[in-house]
C-alpha cells in the first residue's frame, strides 16, 4: 500500500493560534487531524509554508487520539520569519508510525500578529519500509 497525499491547510487570518483544518484532493471534508492506520507509516516527504507574516507551524503527533484528553507531542516546527515562502524537500522522509491505529497528526500555528499563512505537506501512507 502506498498513497501520497498532498495535505493543505491555512490559518484563518484572525486568530494568532490555532489548529489547521486539513484538506486534500481526496478529502470530501476537512479534518483537524489525520489518523495513521495500524501497521502503516506516515512518511513526510516535503513541506511548504508561506504567508503574509511571521508564523510558526508545529507538526504534532499523538499516540492516542481516541482518549478524552489527547496528549500532543511537538515533533517538527517550521518558522516563517516574515512574509514569504519556504519549501523543504526531503531525500529521506520523516516517518510516523501507526502502532495501534490510534496515532494521529495535526498541525498548529502561532503568530505574533494574526495573518493569512499556508502549509502544505507531502504525506505518504504506506505499509512498506
Amino acid at each position: 500500500m502506498k498513497e501520497l497525499l498532498v495535505i493543505y491547510g491555512e490559518t484563518d487570518g484572525t486568530a494568532t493560534t490555532g489548529t489547521l483544518s486539513l484538506n486534500s484532493d481526496l478529502f470530501q471534508a476537512t479534518v483537524s487531524n489525520i489518523r495513521i492506520p495500524r501497521g502503516a507509516k506516515a512518511k513526510i516527504w516535503f513541506k511548504k509554508i508561506s504567508g503574509e507574516a511571521e508564523t510558526l507551524f508545529t507538526l504534532k503527533y499523538t499516540h492516542d487520539v481516541t482518549v478524552a484528553t489527547i496528549t500532543w507531542l511537538n515533533l517538527q516546527q517550521e518558522k516563517l520569519a516574515s512574509k514569504g515562502e519556504i519549501a523543504i524537500e526531503k531525500r529521506r522522509p520523516s516517518i510516523l508510525r501507526g502502532l495501534t491505529g490510534n496515532e494521529a497528526i495535526q498541525i498548529t500555528w502561532t503568530q505574533p500578529t494574526a495573518a493569512k499563512a499556508y502549509a502544505e505537506l507531502g504525506l505518504e501512507l504506506t505499509d512498506e519500509e
Binding site: 500500500m1 498513497e3 484532493d25 481526496l26 478529502f27 471534508a29 479534518v31 489518523r35 492506520p37 501512507l125
Partner: protein, 259 residues
C-alpha cells in the same frame, strides 16, 4: 518468457491455475487468447456507494454515505458490494463481471486497484459468504477485523455463474473520494485434459500463474457453478511422488470436462 506480462495478466498460450483451498482442487486453464489485448485498463470510477446508503462504523455505530462514491470516515460496508455496470448492455444488469455458465470459454482475470490505496478490501465468494478465517473457522475475519483483508488492491479470477461480493473499509478519520481501476483480461480459455500436462502444471514443472481465491468454505454454489460451467470442479493437487495415482485421477476427471 514469463507466464504473465507487465500487467500481471497471463500471456497467450500460457497456463492460469485458480486454486480453491477449501476443496483442495485447482482449475487449470490454458489461455488461448486475450479478447481485449492492448485494452486492459478499465477506469471504473468511484466505488459503487450511493448517497444516503448506511454503512457501519469502526466505533460500532452507523453512518450515511454523504455523496455518491464518497467513503465516510472510519466506516465499512455492512454487506458486500457488487460492481454495477458502468456501460449498458452487460449480460447481467447488476454485476458487470458476471458471466453465465454457458459462456464457459470466457474467463475474467482482473486486478483491482483502489484510490486511495489506504482503503481496505476483501472478497466474498460467492457474495454473502465470508471466506477469510483464523484458526480453522474459530474466528471469521471481516473487512473490519484487525487483519484478514488487503489494502488497496486485489487479484481475482471470476468464474462464470457466480456473483462475487466485494467488501470495503475506510479506516482513516476522513471522508474520502474514491476511485477504482481494473486491469483485466477477458481470456478465451480451454481446459487441458492431458493428464501428464496437468500433473506437470500442478506440481510446478510446467510454469503457470497461480491465483488462490479466498475460500475457507466450499459452498455448494461454487461447486455447482464450476460443474455447470466446466463439467467438473477442479483437479486435485497431488504430491509429486504420487504421480501414478495423480495421472489415474486426472485421466478420469478429464473425461468430465465439457468440450
Amino acid at each position: 518468457m514469463q507466464v504473465v506480462d507487465s500487467l500481471g495478466l497471463v500471456r497467450t498460450n500460457n497456463f492460469l491455475v485458480v486454486y480453491l483451498p477449501a476443496s483442495e482442487k485447482a482449475m487449470v486453464f490454458r489461455v488461448k487468447s486475450r479478447a481485449n489485448e492492448g485494452y486492459e485498463k478499465l477506469p471504473y470510477g468511484p466505488l459503487p456507494l450511493t448517497s444516503g446508503q448506511t454503512l457501519y462504523t469502526f466505533e460500532g455505530g452507523t453512518v450515511t454515505v454523504p455523496a455518491d462514491g464518497v467513503f465516510p470516515a472510519r466506516s465499512y460496508t455492512p454487506e458486500a458490494l457488487i460492481w454495477k455496470p458502468i456501460v449498458e448492455g452487460t449480460w447481467d444488469t447488476t454485476d458487470m463481471w458476471y458471466l453465465p455458465p454457458e459462456w464457459s470459454e470466457r474467463l475474467f482475470h482482473l486486478k483491482l486497484k483502489l484510490t486511495p490505496a489506504s482503503l481496505r478490501t476483501q472478497l466474498e465468494l460467492p457474495k454473502g459468504t465470508k471466506q477469510v478465517a483464523f484458526q480453522r473457522d474459530k474466528i471469521i475475519l471481516t473487512v473490519s477485523s484487525i487483519f484478514g483483508w488487503k489494502w488497496g488492491e486485489i487479484e481475482a479470477v471470476i468464474f462464470p455463474g457466480l456473483h462475487y461480493g466485494w467488501q470495503f473499509a475506510n479506516e482513516l478519520n476522513v471522508n474520502l473520494y474514491t476511485y477504482a481501476e481494473f486491469t483485466y483480461a477477458e481470456n478465451i480459455i480451454e481446459i487441458p485434459t492431458v493428464p501428464q500436462l496437468i500433473f506437470d502444471i500442478l506440481t510446478g514443472k510446467t510454469p503457470a500463474h497461480w491465483v488462490t481465491l479466498p475460500c475457507r468454505t466450499y459452498e455448494d454454489k461454487i461447486k455447482s457453478a464450476l460443474e455447470k460451467t466446466y463439467g467438473f470442479d477442479g483437479y486435485k493437487i497431488y504430491c509429486p511422488a504420487r504421480r501414478e495415482e495423480a495421472i489415474r485421477d486426472y485421466t478420469e476427471t478429464a473425461r468430465k470436462v465439457k468440450a
